[in-house]
């Protein structure tokens, strides 16, 4: 029966190519617009480190006072004083501070120009905490951190540039005139959104190619290349800066269980209370310990443009569906006499349902194929609409292809439901009489 209905459906669609084309296009455009914007939304709202996102926590605490912060939200980052105090207390399985720096790599070959790279100053725990994939060697050790060692981890593309992709562990790297020993080479690792440095990147960035120990960077007074917010003048010189309430450091902690996270939160709360007692804060403790997904949500990592365009395109799909309902209704009802004859010859309502839903399903498949092509075009064109760091994340993968087809077919079946119901209600007697 299925193939017979399919044949009937195809024949009917061919009888009225303009109407059929219109419906296929409506579904195709609606689905393509929704899927293209969804691909961007999906990319910007995804979990950057799914295996661990519920165990990694960012720490915030209010060192500015309720008058200087907005809506009770503590500053995005920590001051040096607080970050290092919490680091020393070591109340988590692993923890690290990070801040972005800019470094210039000076190649050994005097004929080559220096290379500017984005870099982070961080701790030894950074690499195991964030599951950073190593190609050679490994991260530096906690001992290196304590010794303020001059060590460095570089990314593959820099290793390719400097050492033609060869073994470089143990070799020296010259950064702005200071020598560092390479302990490991990682892949060009930059989880998107770049959760551990949202304040400075907005979440989408190529990531860094160089990582150096935090203690070493502070010794060398390597300036913070990211946002630096102060509520009072820090005073002259690096030491005053470290003593100031300027915020510039992110602190991340690995807390494998909810219980540990709660204990940690209480510790931070207690720390802030101590500061209040000591007279440094004249306000009640205001601390936030958030896991990766909560942190990304609070920081509004998903661009407003992405959300608005997704909503508008979903509205667009709904209109296309309403349009298709109307056209299908017209098409099916025009065949009322034919339905009357079929019904009079013994076809049940169920048969009519099957016949017309199959016809609508064919439109859905055609619309889905068109939608898929247009989604492909749309994703190529995403770069025209969204900034490059976001646009490059939108990809047409098997999941999206499947989703596009499913959405198209489901949408056309939903659209077909009412017209089919009307078709099945056709009274055979009435139709036969009027003819």
């Amino acid at each position: 029966m299925f193939s017979y209905y399919l044949q009937l459906g195809l024949r009917s669609l061919r009888r009225n190519p303009v109407l059929t084309g219109l419906m296929v296009m409506a579904i195709g455009f609606g689905v393509a617009a929704s899927m293209t914007t969804y691909s961007v939304f999906r990319a910007t709202s995804r979990d950057p480190i799914p295996q661990k996102s519920s165990q990694l926590y960012n720490t915030q605490l209010d060192n500015w006072g309720p008058d200087r912060i907005e809506k009770g939200e503590p500053p995005q980052a920590l001051s040096y004083k607080d970050a290092t105090a919490l680091l020393r207390a070591h109340k988590a399985k692993r923890q690290t501070v990070t801040y972005p720096i800019g470094v210039s790599v000076i190649p050994d070959n005097a004929g080559r120009l220096p290379i500017r790279e984005g870099a982070y100053a961080t701790g030894a725990d950074f690499f195991p905490m964030f599951d950073v994939p190593f190609l050679q060697g490994g991260g530096w050790t906690l001992e290196d951190d304590e010794k303020h060692a001059s060590v460095v981890v570089i990314a593959k593309s820099l290793n390719d540039k400097l050492f033609d992709g060869g073994q470089s562990v143990g070799k020296q790297l010259n950064l702005d005139g200071h020598l560092y020993r390479i302990t490991g080479v990682i892949e060009d690792w930059a989880p998107q959104p770049l959760f551990f440095d949202v304040p400075n990147t907005g979440g989408f960035d190529e990531g860094a190619k160089v990582y150096v120990p935090f203690n070493r960077a502070v010794d060398l007074k390597l300036p913070n290349a990211g946002n630096n917010s102060c509520v009072a003048e820090p005073g002259e010189g690096w030491d005053n800066y470290l003593r100031s309430e300027c915020i510039w450091l992110s602190l991340w902690s690995e807390l494998p269980s909810k219980a540990e996270a709660e204990t940690y939160r209480q510790y931070i709360q207690g720390y802030a209370a101590d500061q209040q007692r000591a007279g440094r804060f004249s306000w009640a403790p205001n601390v936030k310990v958030r896991d990766v997904m909560t942190w990304l949500d609070v920081q509004h990592v998903v661009p407003k443009e992405s959300q608005v365009s997704l909503i508008v395109s979903l509205g667009f799909l709904v209109i296309c569906l309403v349009n298709t309902i109307g056209l299908l209704l017209a098409k099916f009802m025009r065949r009322a006499p034919e339905i009357g004859v079929r019904r009079a010859l013994g076809a049940s309502r169920k048969d009519i349902y099957a016949q017309f839903l199959i016809e609508a399903g064919t439109i859905g498949v055609a619309g889905g194929v068109l939608g898929l092509l247009l989604t492909g075009v749309g994703i190529l064109g995403v770069g025209l609409v969204f900034p490059e760091p976001v646009a490059r994340l939108a990809k047409l993968d098997p999941v999206l292809i499947l989703l596009t087809l499913v959405v198209a077919i489901v949408a056309s079946l939903i659209a077909a439901f009412y017209p089919t119901w009307r078709a099945a209600q056709v009274q055979p007697a009435w139709q036969l009489k009027s003819n």
């Binding site: 109407l19 219109l22 296009m25 409506a26 455009f29 617009a33 800019g102 210039s104 000076i106 120009l113 220096p114 290379i115 500017r116 702005d176 005139g177 300036p223 003048e233 820090p234 005073g235 002259e236 010189g237 690096w238 005053n240 800066y241 661009p303 407003k304 443009e305 959300q307 608005v308 365009s309 909503i311 508008v312 395109s313 509205g315 667009f316 709904v318 209109i319 296309c320 309403v322 349009n323 309902i325 109307g326 056209l327 209704l329 017209a330 098409k331 009802m333 025009r334 025209l384 609409v385 969204f386 900034p387 490059e388 009412y418 009307r422 003819n435």
Partner: protein
């Protein structure tokens, strides 16, 4: 007009009527919001910066190594740039309009005030800054070479002389006469306003940090490895200078990095990059509007044609009873108008509701009523245009149809 018979006929076509009205309503809701977004973004993209953007080149430069004092090499670089053929003038700064990164600080008129002052963007420069930027000095004077001071990384700059924009001058001194007045940009450091410029915007396009065109220029050489050079070229020389700058800088000193992509840019590129997201949004919304209107029109054509086909016999009867072609034509036009009217009424409610929702969720501006009005007129006109062809076909139905049995 024959409205009553139309209404009673529509009552027998409830579903089709509702579908067309619904489609018009939804289309109106989306189209006027989308058009409003387009308008808002285009407005933003077309905002002027106050500087003469033609023949301007921006260089982003990072010195390598860590000398105590970067100013000698900065001065050498300025000499190199100013002596290049085709260059009118050049200066070195921390930031400029549309750069999307820079400094802001609070302005105080009372040295002891602890309140948060009016926020102003802070640009550094020397006596060449105004000429290079191409901004107009409307009161007072330019800096002179002797006033330029060196400021270190951790210092809060507060020079004895500053030049401010008219917007900032008027904001801080609403009575006028800002020229010659003293303001405080750093605690304990008075700055005299020696000049007022017509207009200059902040480095940010969002105005997150600074509310208006509040800009202060200080005669400062900032002692840091990261510097921005701005270069004004003679007309027609921009390309030549653009090519000549990197080799000239490297020849003068190779221990520097001009980063990929942003190392050297014509100001057109700075502007394009700054407004990427806004332009994209405008394009996307325009495309959505266009396709949406086309699909709605096609839907109306489709359904109306179906109705005409269904009613050929009735049309024939009316014609046989003496109705003229124009009567039939106007019947279908009026019918569509009535349906569209219901659609736009519902649509206006939906449009305002959607706008309100986006306002609360995405901090977007509220829809202006002009756009609702434009949308209403556009959709009524679209409906009439779309129904015209089927209506015309209906009017050509011959009276003979009345006698046919099918």
């Amino acid at each position: 007009m024959q409205i009553k018979p139309i209404l009673s006929a529509l009552r027998r076509h409830k579903s089709g009527t509702i579908l067309i009205a619904l489609q018009i309503a939804l289309t109106l809701a989306i189209v006027c919001n989308a058009l409003f977004i387009v308008h808002e973004r285009v407005d933003k993209v077309n905002r002027t910066t106050g500087l003469d953007e033609t023949n301007l080149i921006a260089v982003s430069n990072d010195y390598v190594g860590a000398p105590e004092d970067f100013t000698p090499i900065m001065k050498t670089d300025l000499q190199t740039l100013r002596s290049l053929p085709g260059v009118v003038d050049a200066y070195v700064t921390n930031s400029y309009p549309l750069r999307q990164g820079g400094w802001s600080t609070g302005v105080q008129t009372d040295p002891d005030s602890t309140k948060q002052g009016i926020s102003t963007a802070l640009y550094f420069g020397d006596e060449h800054a105004l000429k290079t930027l191409g901004v107009r000095l409307i009161a007072g004077r330019n800096f002179n070479a002797g006033e330029v001071v060196t400021v270190g990384r951790q210092q809060q700059p507060g020079t004895a002389q500053v030049i401010v924009t008219k917007a900032l001058a008027d904001k801080v001194f609403p009575d006028g006469n800002a020229l010659g007045k003293v303001i405080y940009l750093a605690k304990g450091k008075p700055s005299t306003i020696i000049g007022i410029i017509e207009k200059l915007t902040t480095p940010w396009i969002q105005n997150d940090f600074v509310e208006g065109d509040y800009v202060t220029i200080m005669p400062v050489m900032f002692n840091s490895s990261f510097q921005q050079f701005l270069i004004r070229t003679q007309p027609g020389q921009q390309d030549a200078v653009f090519k000549a700058v990197p080799p000239a800088l490297y020849a003068s000193n190779r221990m520097r990095v001009l980063p990929e992509k942003v190392g050297i840019r014509k100001f057109e590129d700075v502007r394009r990059r700054a407004y990427d997201a806004d332009r994209g949004m405008a394009i996307l919304m325009s495309v959505v509007c266009g396709v949406l209107l086309a699909i709605t029109a096609a839907g109306i054509v489709g359904l109306s044609s179906f109705w005409v086909g269904q009613r050929r016999k009735q049309i024939g009867v009316r014609r046989a009873l003496g109705a003229r072609r124009s009567d039939i034509l106007s019947y279908f036009m009026t019918e569509n108008f009535l349906i569209a009217l219901v659609g736009v009424v519902v649509g206006v409610i939906l449009a305002v509701g959607l706008s309100q929702w986006m306002f609360t969720h995405f901090e977007m501006k509220r829809l202006s009523l002009t756009y609702v009005a434009i949308g209403v007129v556009a959709l009524l006109a679209l409906g009439q245009a779309a129904v015209f062809a089927p209506a015309l076909r209906a009017s050509r139905v011959s009276p003979v149809e009345a006698t046919r049995s099918v």
